[in-house]
């Protein structure tokens, strides 16, 4: 941990509100480990506020840190927000280990299908084998039929799921 991060951790421990000033600058000034180090000190409400006020980079850092934070389902609104965006980085991160653990079946299937539409490789979806169900198979099969009807190819990772 560099000097900046050590100081930022100390300040955040003493006053969690200071995270609102420190977190946005943390990666630039403290390197890649600084944002996760600050998040580890914060409660779910503060983390959600940081996410709402965050730029794309901050949001990505939060989504990627979620599996290592002990938040239970409290951070689901963050994941659901990321899945509403049109940014492939945020969507892929939302379907990491945390989203895979806590999203309900409907939201998870919609997330997987959104990956297919946005050319995010299904290999990036955490726990897909565990969460795959008959309804998702039907949705992927319908998508493949729609692609073929339009004379388009069906992505290989979708075909694999249909075999």
């Amino acid at each position: 941990m560099n000097e900046w991060t050590t100081q930022a951790v100390r300040q955040t421990r003493a006053d969690p509100e200071s995270a609102h000033r420190l977190f946005p600058q943390a990666e630039r000034k403290g390197g890649p480990r600084a944002r996760p180090a600050l998040l580890a000190l914060l409660d779910a409400g503060t983390i959600e506020a940081l996410y709402r006020n965050g730029d794309a980079g901050e949001r990505l850092s939060i989504l990627r840190a979620l599996p290592d934070l002990d938040l239970g389902p409290a951070a689901l609104p963050i994941v659901e927000d990321a899945l509403r965006t049109n940014d492939t980085r945020l969507i892929a991160a939302a379907l990491g280990p945390y989203g895979s653990r806590w999203l309900d079946d409907h939201a998870f299937r919609q997330g997987v299908l959104k990956c297919v539409f946005m050319s995010i490789p299904l290999a990036e979806v955490d726990g897909l084998d565990r969460r795959h169900d008959a309804e998702l198979t039907r949705m992927l099969a319908d998508h493949a039929a729609e692609r073929r009807a339009a004379g388009r190819t069906v992505p290989e990772d979708v075909l694999e799921r249909l075999r």
């Binding site: 946005p24 049109n86 492939t88 969507i91």
Partner: protein, 282 residues
């Protein structure tokens, strides 16, 4: 040829523009916050706009191999609307963001006392956030407005080298050159400045502290005007180094004062799907 457009409103442009800009040599842009033609009526409307400049727009630009940074401020056209005054309280947290490389556009529109107060408040904010400032000069009564702009900048105590005064012409360039501020020129199809007049100004004043932009937005404008200036410079006998100075190194030096520019300096490759349908609809 590598071009940095230091002032362009990409939220108003379509992906075809990004494609043509990339082909013309544009590799980096700064999008300053301005008005959108339709006046906004509340603070939230600005925050969504700022979030777009920090999120969706750089993402869209990156699909075309163009690096997108922004400048944020409450713009002069809307500074007089009391419903939008709360934007000032939100700005300091936005100025901390990695991709915010300046405060801007600030300055005068109708030269009212209210505009001046907000202009001054944002110059103070820039000093506190350690950011350079992009200053818009008014379209109406431009010469008097530019003179008064320079007085406000001088009184703020900000070093002239951290201020870019934009939308200059033959009548206003001299006073800005004397002030030590950077000089910006918006090259437009009809109004403001055109490529040949720009070349004449560069011949008279040299290339130091000179920036050329398209200021392309939702009105009649052209995101390729920067390239046209580069070509006109070469045709008039300027060297490739001169062109690189005006169209790349000067904007890098000006916005680099933020300490946050961090451009990928080698030739950024456009993503593999550049030629295809790149903005996916999920």
């Amino acid at each position: 040829m590598r071009i940095f457009d230091p002032h362009i409103h990409m939220t108003s442009r379509i992906t075809d523009d990004y494609e043509r800009m990339r082909a013309a040599g544009v590799r980096a842009v700064v999008e300053p916050a301005f008005w959108q033609g339709q006046p906004r009526t509340n603070v939230g409307s600005f925050l969504d706009y700022f979030d777009t400049l920090l999120g969706w727009e750089p993402y869209r630009a990156a699909q075309y191999g163009i690096q997108h940074r922004c400048a944020l401020a409450l713009n002069p056209k809307e500074a007089g609307d009391l419903r939008c005054a709360g934007v000032l309280a939100e700005l300091p947290r936005y100025l901390l963001k990695d991709s915010v490389v300046a405060v801007g556009e600030v300055g005068y529109d109708s030269m009212t006392a209210r505009e001046e107060e907000i202009f001054e408040a944002q110059l103070t904010m820039a000093a506190e956030a350690d950011l350079p400032v992009l200053v818009h000069t008014p379209h109406r009564d431009k010469t008097a407005g530019t003179r008064r702009t320079l007085d406000v900048v001088a009184a703020s105590g900000l070093p002239a080298g951290r201020v870019l005064v934009d939308h200059l012409n033959e009548l206003t360039v001299g006073m800005v050159a004397d002030s030590g501020c950077w000089m910006g020129f918006s090259i437009y199809p009809d109004t403001k400045m055109d490529p040949d007049r720009m070349v004449a100004i560069l011949q008279e004043y040299g290339t130091a502290r000179m920036l050329v932009n398209s200021a392309a937005d939702w009105g009649r404008s052209d995101p390729l005007k920067t390239r046209q200036v580069a070509d006109a410079m070469l045709a008039a006998g300027f060297t490739a180094d001169d062109v690189a100075r005006v169209l790349w190194h000067n904007p890098v030096a000006f916005y680099g004062q933020s300490g946050k520019l961090a451009l990928d300096d080698h030739e950024a490759e456009a993503p593999a799907e550049y030629a295809g349908n790149t903005i996916k609809r999920g």
